[in-house]
């Protein structure tokens, strides 16, 4: 019993140490340059705004025709839309779904891309050839029209199915890049030594290959989130998948439908979602390129 306690304590200490060193490393990576810090700050702001914002600023979806296109004031920070509803709160309220869709799309895409890319690069041979032909098909058939088609075939009513539609045609490019990296890593000495030593395939994949491509995958995670937001807003703007009228794309669709570009008082109506998208995307770009500079030795040297 005592022995077990000692061992448990030791393993806990070891776990804590590795956790601490990992956290320190993560902190150092994230604060290495200004780009990363600014990007991270913007993205965190969005996450906080999306999940805590609606609690502080509850959104009232009731329409009030008298109050339409009200200018910015203390009560309505960004004015109101064509039906007298607060735009700032609408944007906050809608941002949660947008972020969840982007996050889920990233997760789904990365899972498919990593599974396909690593297996195809690692196993090789006939399997690789078949998978590459299929990947090629996914790459050559343009993705945005396919997303539109799928969005119109399956009526989208919640974030998960939307994320699936967005990710099912987006993994091909990333999986090909991962396959190329795995193939070049496979020739390197440390993997060869593992093979010679007769280590398990799962060990080689998860302990040796994965750490070497994880930074690449993480950067792509952010970039896919970015693309997912562009695509989801676009699909919603075409009037497909409008399940929540306060989504950024749905706000834009309503603005476009009433011809808000031609109404001077309605400028904030269409500008608010655009600014939200622009801010989020700028944050994602900064974080991704900052991380790239930190983690990519070729760029870091200079």
């Amino acid at each position: 019993m005592k022995d077990f306690k000692m061992r448990f304590k030791k393993s806990m200490i070891r776990f804590w140490k590795s956790f601490k060193s990992g956290a320190v490393r993560l902190y150092k990576t994230l604060t290495y340059n200004t780009k990363t810090k600014v990007g991270l700050a913007i993205l965190l702001l969005f996450v906080i705004g999306a999940f805590i914002g609606p609690i502080i600023f509850p959104y009232n979806p009731l329409t009030n025709e008298v109050n339409k296109f009200a200018p910015p004031s203390a009560e309505h920070w960004l004015g109101t839309d064509n039906l007298g509803r607060d735009l700032f709160r609408q944007m906050l309220y809608g941002s949660r779904d947008v972020l969840v869709i982007a996050l889920l799309t990233s997760i789904f895409t990365i899972i498919i891309a990593v599974a396909v890319g690593i297996s195809s690069g690692f196993i090789g041979g006939m399997y690789d050839r078949v998978i590459q032909t299929i990947t090629n098909l996914f790459l050559t058939i343009p993705s945005f029209p396919i997303m539109i088609i799928m969005a119109s075939f399956f009526t989208i009513e919640e974030p998960v199915s939307f994320a699936l539609v967005l990710s099912i045609w987006n993994w091909a490019g990333l999986s090909r890049a991962i396959r190329a990296q795995v193939i070049s890593l496979k020739e390197r000495d440390f993997i060869q030594i593992c093979n010679v030593m007769g280590m398990r395939k799962s060990h080689i994949i998860f302990k040796e290959l994965m750490p070497n491509i994880s930074s690449y995958i993480f950067i792509n995670f952010i970039l896919i989130m970015r693309n997912a937001i562009t695509a989801s807003v676009g699909i919603m703007m075409l009037g497909l998948a409008a399940f929540e009228p306060s989504n950024w794309g749905a706000i834009l669709l309503r603005a476009k439908d009433i011809g808000a570009l031609l109404i001077p008082e309605a400028t904030l109506f269409w500008l608010t979602p655009i600014i939200a998208i622009a801010l989020f995307q700028a944050g994602a770009i900064l974080l991704a390129s900052g991380l790239d500079e930190t983690l990519n030795p070729r760029l870091r040297r200079n």
């Binding site: 299929i134 090629n136 050559t140 676009g234 570009l261 269409w270």
Partner: protein
């Protein structure tokens, strides 16, 4: 004399044989590519075929009903006509349907609209694709030129005002999708300043010839082209910068510096040419993507293009049109992919060995 003649013929035959063998051997990378392209073509065709099968309801009966109402013909007759026009018979076996579909594709028949009279995919390609290609290819060339100039300079001069400016331009321009740039540009230059028209491709009142027409078309195309370019410049600049950073580490750049060549000569003669090579494939691929048009951009500018036709077809659930447009787009993409890959491996022989 007499037995020399067959010998000569034999020699010539052998020479031709070796020539053909050598040619096939040297271009084997090309044949492999073509084989892959054919397989992808087949898969895309199968995919397009099953797109119809995925559809809800029975589109042929709907189409036949409309035909019988319009032309005042009995339902049997209309049904027969519908299967002929749509090139699809729901009562046949899957293999017969597929054979019929493929033979239609071979004859250049990509499909017919279910709702609009005499509108086929071929008609849409003929009438709308030129406009789409016109604005988007001009935008692509413009952004490619600006992008490579910017990227090359960014790689060569790491520090300084230009690099900071270029970097912030890339972040800001890339942060807003192109169709939203379109909205912003329409608001600034079309609605507020009234410098440019906000919709259409030319004035309807104009005669369709001469310089006034061309300048009018360009005048209408200006805002869409700028909106497309703004977003693309950043991507090209970053790609060029990455490629140029790799070239800068090469020995011949050091040698050129050691020889005391000027900065301008190094950039234009050594750096730009060598770092452009990898970008050619992406340029060809981007050109292929243009054939799909941009549904959102064309809807916002009310520009009669391929993309807006596509989104119209989707809005009305015109399944046969959707299928035809989709299959056409993938064919173009596959072809462009093949051309881009082959071009690249002809230009740069190092590529041939790896990456089938």
């Amino acid at each position: 004399m007499e037995n020399k003649k067959p010998n000569k013929v034999k020699q010539v035959l052998v020479a031709i044989g070796t020539f053909i063998r050598d040619f096939l051997f040297k271009t084997r990378f090309l044949w492999r590519r073509i084989g892959f392209a054919l397989i992808t073509l087949l898969l895309a065709t199968i995919f397009g075929f099953f797109l119809i099968k995925m559809m809800l309801g029975d589109p042929v009966t709907m189409f036949a009903k409309r035909l019988s109402d319009e032309r005042r013909i009995p339902m049997d007759e209309a049904y027969r006509l519908a299967t002929m026009l749509l090139n699809y018979d729901p009562n046949a076996t899957v293999w017969q349907q597929f054979g019929r579909y493929v033979s239609g594709l071979v004859k250049g028949d990509f499909g017919t609209s279910m709702y609009r009279n005499d509108v086929t995919v071929t008609v849409i390609i003929k009438n709308f694709l030129p406009w789409t290609l016109f604005i988007s290819s001009l935008a692509l060339l413009l952004s490619f030129l600006i992008g490579i100039l910017m990227g090359g300079r960014m790689a060569y001069k790491r520090k300084g005002f230009f690099n900071a400016g270029a970097n912030s331009f890339i972040v800001v321009s890339g942060a807003v999708p192109d169709y939203l740039w379109g909205m912003i540009l329409i608001f600034i230059f079309g609605v507020t300043l009234r410098w440019f028209p906000i919709q259409g491709n030319y004035d309807i009142l104009l005669e369709l010839k001469g310089w006034p027409f061309i300048t009018n078309v360009l005048y209408h195309a200006f805002l869409p082209i700028i909106a497309f370019s703004i977003v693309q410049i950043g991507g090209w600049a970053l790609a060029m910068r990455g490629s140029a950073l790799g070239v800068l580490g090469e020995d011949y750049i050091y040698a050129a510096k050691a020889r005391g060549l000027g900065e301008r000569t190094i950039v234009s003669r050594y750096l730009r040419k060598n770092s452009l090579l990898p970008l050619i494939t992406s340029l060809a691929m981007s050109f292929a993507v243009l054939f799909g048009g941009s549904p959102l951009m064309e809807t916002i500018f009310n520009y009669p293009g391929f993309g807006s036709e596509f989104s119209k077809a989707i809005g009305t659930r015109d399944y046969f049109l959707i299928q035809g447009l989709m299959v056409f787009m993938s064919f173009v993409m596959i072809l462009a992919n093949l051309i881009a890959d082959s071009l690249y491996s002809i230009i740069d022989p190092r590529i041939r060995r790896d990456n089938t």
